[in-house]
Symmetry: C2
Subunit: 338 residues, 2 copies
DNA sequence: GTGAAAGCGCTAACAA
DNA sequence: TTGTTAGCGCTTTCAC
C-alpha cells in the first residue's frame, strides 16, 4: 500500500523473519516473547534474521491479539497551564520506564472536548489517570468500571487516588503568616467543583482556629491569571493584610493587579499560592507558595496505575498522600498595618 | 479476559451488531465507513442495533486492517518548557478537528530518550511533526522516507517545514532598539545546532548593518533560564546597553541575574527575547520580545501534515512562513549611558 | 522444543 | 445493495 508522496516500503513481518531463519512464524513470536522456551541457537538464528531484515514487531497487530496496547491516557484540563508541565513530565518518566506510551488528552477547559477526546482514547489505552476532570464522580465511576483508573487530587470512594498533603501545607503557611504578625487571613477560593479547594479552605479554617487567627473566604474565582485579577474586587473595601489563593496562577494574577494599583507586596499585603509552578519563582516579588511535588505526583500516579494494570489488587481505599512543603519567597512579610 | 480488579465486560463487536440487525458483518462495517453505499433503512437498523448494544468500533482492529491509526506524533525536546505549551495546544486543536490523536514524545533533552520514544511511537503513527530534535539532518531524512513528516523552525531540503519569520521580527526589534538610541547590540546565542539561532544572528547582523548599529555575538548558552544566568559572565567587562537573547527563557534568566546585581533594566541595559512565552509577560519588568504565533505554529504543522497524509503532494519545497511581531514591554528603554 | 492452525475485530475485494 | 471470503501481523492453544 502506498500513501502520500511515493511508496513506503512495507516493514518486514514475522513471516519474513521466519522464512529467513528457517523456522515457523510461531517460533519467531516465541523467541521474542519467551526467549526461555526456545533453543539457544534457534533463538540466535532468529535474532540474526530479524536484525538483518530490520524487523520491528508491529505493535498494532500485537495489541489486537493481546489487547494490550502499552498505552495509558493522562487526562488534564489544560496543557497550557504550567501546573501540568511537570506533572506530564513525571508521568512520561514513569511510563517510559515500563515501555508504555502516554496519550495526553487535553480537555481545553471544555467538557465536550473532554468527552470526545476521552471517547477517542479510551478504547486504545490500558488505563487512565485523571489529572483533572469536569466529570462528575458518578461518570468517573462508570469509566473506572471499564478500565483501570487513578485520580489525582480528588477523592472517590473505591477508586485509587494520589493527593498532596494539603492540610500540612496549609498549616505551615498559616504558621508562617502568624509568625509574621498577621491576624486575619483571607482565602481566595477556586472552582467549587475542585476537591483541592475544599480541602484547602477547610484546612485553613482549622489551622486558623488552632492558631487563633481569623479566616475568611471569598470567591470562587477561575483558577487562572484572570481569576486572580477578578479576585481583586472581592477584597474590597478593606484589603486584608494576608491572602492565600487557591493556586499560584490566581495569586500571580492578584499580585499583578495589586501592584499595578500601587499596593506594595508584601508590605501592604502578603500573598501565598499553591503548587509552586515555574512562574511563581519568576515573578517579582517571588511568590511564597505551598509546593506540590508535581513531578512525583505524575510518576506516582502512573506507577500505581501500571501496577494495577499488571494485576495488583489495590487493597487500600486510602488515597496515596504526597508531602507538600512551604516555599517562602518575597511575597510574604511582616505587615506594616494594624 | 479479566484484568485488575474484577471482570471487564468485553465490548460488543461488529458481529454482535450484525446479528442483532440481521445483516452481514461487512454491511455493518460499510454502514459506518460509507453510509452512502447502504440502504437507508438497513443503515437505520444497524445504527439502532449499535446504539442498543453500545457498540464502539475497535480502533486497534481497524488500524490493523487499514494501517491507519488516526494518530500522529509530535516530537519535542522538553514538555517542561513553556514554549511548547501553546504549540501543543495548537497541534491538538488541529488534530482533533480531523479526529486524530496526537502522541507527544518528549525527549527530555536527551538523545537516547528521543530515539527510544521515537522508535516506540513511529510504528503506530501515520505521520510526525518534529517540534524540535537533536537528530541530524540525515537521520531525519531517513525517517522522513518512512513516514510523512513536517519540521518546525528548521530547514531540510525536500522536507516540508513551518517556520516563523525571524528576519522580519529581528528587524523590528533592531529598529525598536535603534529608536531608543542604542548603538550597540549584543546577541546572546543559543544552541549552535539550532537553525533558528543561525537565522536570528544572521538577521541581526544584517539589520544592524543596514541601520548602522554595531552588533556582536556571545555564547552559545543553553536555551534555558540557567543559560541566561550563564550569559551574565559573557557580558563582561563592559555591560552592553542592549542585548537580544536567543529566547525568552535566556532573556529572563539574564534579567534576573542582572537585577540581583543591582543593574537596572531598562535604564542600564535593555533586554529583548524571542517567542513570547507566558512568563515573558509575568516577569518584572515585562519582557520585550519577538513573538511567535506558537499556537498557529502547532496547528499549521499538524494541518499540513494531515494534508500530506491524505495524499497532498506538497509541491513547494519552500518553508511555510508564519509572521512574527514585536511585543514591546518594559525591558527595553532609552539608555542612560553613553 | 517446534510446527500447524485458529483467531483477535475489522476492512476490502469479489461475487451474487 | 448485500453477503462471502480472505486477509491485516501477531499470539496462543494444541499437537507432535
Amino acid at each position: 500500500m502506498t500513501s502520500g508522496d511515493g511508496t513506503r516500503k512495507s516493514q518486514p513481518t514475522i513471516y519474513d523473519v521466519a522464512r529467513l531463519a528457517g523456522v515457523a512464524p510461531s517460533t519467531v513470536s516465541r523467541a521474542f516473547a519467551r526467549p526461555g522456551r526456545v533453543n539457544a541457537d534457534t533463538a540466535q538464528r532468529i535474532r540474526e534474521a530479524a536484525a538483518q531484515l530490520g524487523y520491528r514487531a508491529n505493535p498494532v497487530a500485537r495489541a489486537l491479539s493481546t489487547s494490550r496496547t502499552r498505552m495509558i491516557a493522562l487526562m488534564i484540563s489544560d496543557v497550557t497551564n504550567p501546573y501540568y508541565s511537570e506533572l506530564i513530565r513525571g508521568a512520561q518518566l514513569a511510563a517510559s520506564q515500563e515501555e508504555y506510551t502516554v496519550l495526553l488528552t487535553d480537555a481545553r477547559e471544555s467538557d465536550v472536548v473532554e468527552r470526545e477526546s476521552l471517547e477517542r482514547v479510551l478504547p486504545v489505552v490500558e488505563g487512565i489517570v485523571i489529572g483533572s476532570s469536569r466529570m462528575s464522580d458518578s461518570t468517573l465511576r462508570v469509566i473506572a468500571k471499564q478500565t483501570p483508573m487513578i485520580v489525582l487530587n480528588r477523592h472517590l470512594a473505591g477508586i485509587p487516588s494520589v493527593v498532596t498533603d494539603n492540610p500540612r501545607g496549609v498549616r505551615r503557611a498559616v504558621e508562617h503568616l502568624g509568625e509574621l504578625g498577621h491576624e486575619h487571613i483571607t482565602y481566595v477560593a477556586g472552582p467549587e467543583a475542585s476537591w483541592a479547594d475544599g480541602m484547602r479552605w477547610r484546612a485553613l479554617r482549622e489551622a486558623g482556629h488552632e492558631l487563633h487567627l481569623h479566616t475568611r473566604r471569598v470567591g470562587p474565582v477561575a483558577p487562572t491569571l484572570q481569576g486572580g485579577r477578578d479576585a481583586r474586587a472581592l477584597l474590597r473595601p478593606h484589603l486584608p493584610t494576608a491572602v492565600i489563593c487557591y493556586n499560584d496562577l490566581v495569586a500571580i494574577g492578584l499580585m499583578r493587579t495589586l501592584t499595578a494599583e500601587g499596593v506594595r507586596i508584601p508590605d501592604d499585603v502578603s500573598v501565598v499560592g499553591f503548587d509552586n509552578i515555574l512562574p511563581a519563582e519568576l515573578v517579582s516579588p517571588g511568590l511564597t507558595t505551598v509546593a506540590s511535588p508535581l513531578r512525583t505526583l505524575g510518576s506516582t500516579a502512573v506507577g500505581n496505575l501500571l501496577a494495577i494494570i499488571r494485576g495488583a489488587l489495590h487493597t487500600t481505599d486510602k488515597p496515596f498522600v504526597l508531602p507538600t512543603r512551604l516555599v517562602v519567597r518575597e511575597s510574604t512579610g511582616r505587615t506594616a498595618r494594624r
